[in-house]
Symmetry: C2
């Protein structure tokens, strides 16, 4: 049960409202390159994000726009910004952290929307059938190599719009010396104390 | 079998020769605060380290001086600097990466000495006896919490000069949302494929 790795750098999903504030009223995001998940793309647009302690420039906007703005950053970024967002599944932003987003046309402060993304596996419905797994299952993932890690509680997300990929952030990727496209393994684990 | 966590930020151990070049001929390191391992200390001195792609300022010098200069950085730092050091046990620097070290009195280029430290557990001889472990054993360490990780191949280092601590770098600490002093667990693992 092998799965290719996709390492997510910090990024931001914007709502139409925030695109208008940051880039101008009739602005539409410009696709820059497609992502591995169908119809998703990295946009040419970037923003600056700013917390009480510091800021990070050139944060990539992903498209298409979403109902609610969501910013996914690493724990390392949190120390730079001086904020303490929760570890959450994508879309679960209620009561998460806020910060200031700065674009070329204006800036906006959001009260919530900043999360550290919980690692997860995107899986097409057919992959899930093959593997005997269901949406919202949790599995162990073993990486291999000289810094091998077994990630616990990896969320399985199943859709006929997904292609198979294990998503981690840069902290997780660097901790295990992972590279994009590298294969990792879904395993079962017996823990003996 | 619980062990407290110690997260190591990037740091540098200097030889007497490099202290003289960087800080001046008769300079001696000034202890700033003691580390958890006996007789080791963070010094008041810091240096800048510089690679082909970028530099990092205020890298803490640890004392006392050593026979050979050794710089321990994270994979995240490697991207900033533009170098690709190996993952190594402390002291094993042959053929590792190099960079430029800049101090207030001068600078020096080292050809080797830069490593990403292999995570390890420092353990007093009495702890090792209690746990039934020996120097150079490898164990699994489970962290707990919502980003729980099982670290494989954790090196056991036993000495009557060591106090019990699980040493990871900032990438590993951030990937698992660890805090200094948090307790983690040495476990046995049965992997089923």
């Amino acid at each position: 049960m092998k799965v290719p790795v996709g390492i997510s750098n910090r990024h931001i999903h914007l709502s139409d409202r925030e695109v208008a504030i940051l880039f101008g009223d009739d602005h539409e995001l410009t696709p820059f390159k497609p992502l591995s998940q169908p119809a998703q793309y990295a946009a040419e647009e970037t923003v600056t994000i700013k917390g009480p302690k510091g800021f990070i420039e050139k944060v990539r906007v992903l498209g298409p726009t979403r109902r609610q703005t969501q910013i996914e950053i690493s724990r390392t970024d949190c120390f730079t910004l001086g904020i303490n967002p929760p570890v959450r599944d994508s879309g679960d932003v209620e009561g998460s952290a806020g910060l200031e987003i700065i674009g070329p046309n204006g800036s906006v402060h959001i009260d919530e929307g900043v999360i550290i993304a919980q690692r997860h596996i995107h899986m097409h419905t057919k992959d899930a059938e093959n593997y005997g797994l269901e949406d919202k299952d949790r599995v162990f993932v073993k990486t291999g190599g000289d810094r091998s890690i077994i990630f616990e509680n990896v969320l399985i997300r199943v859709s006929d719009k997904f292609s198979l990929e294990f998503h981690v952030d840069t902290d997780e990727g660097n901790a295990a010396s992972l590279k994009n496209g590298q294969l990792v393994e879904i395993i079962s684990v017996h823990i003996l104390r």
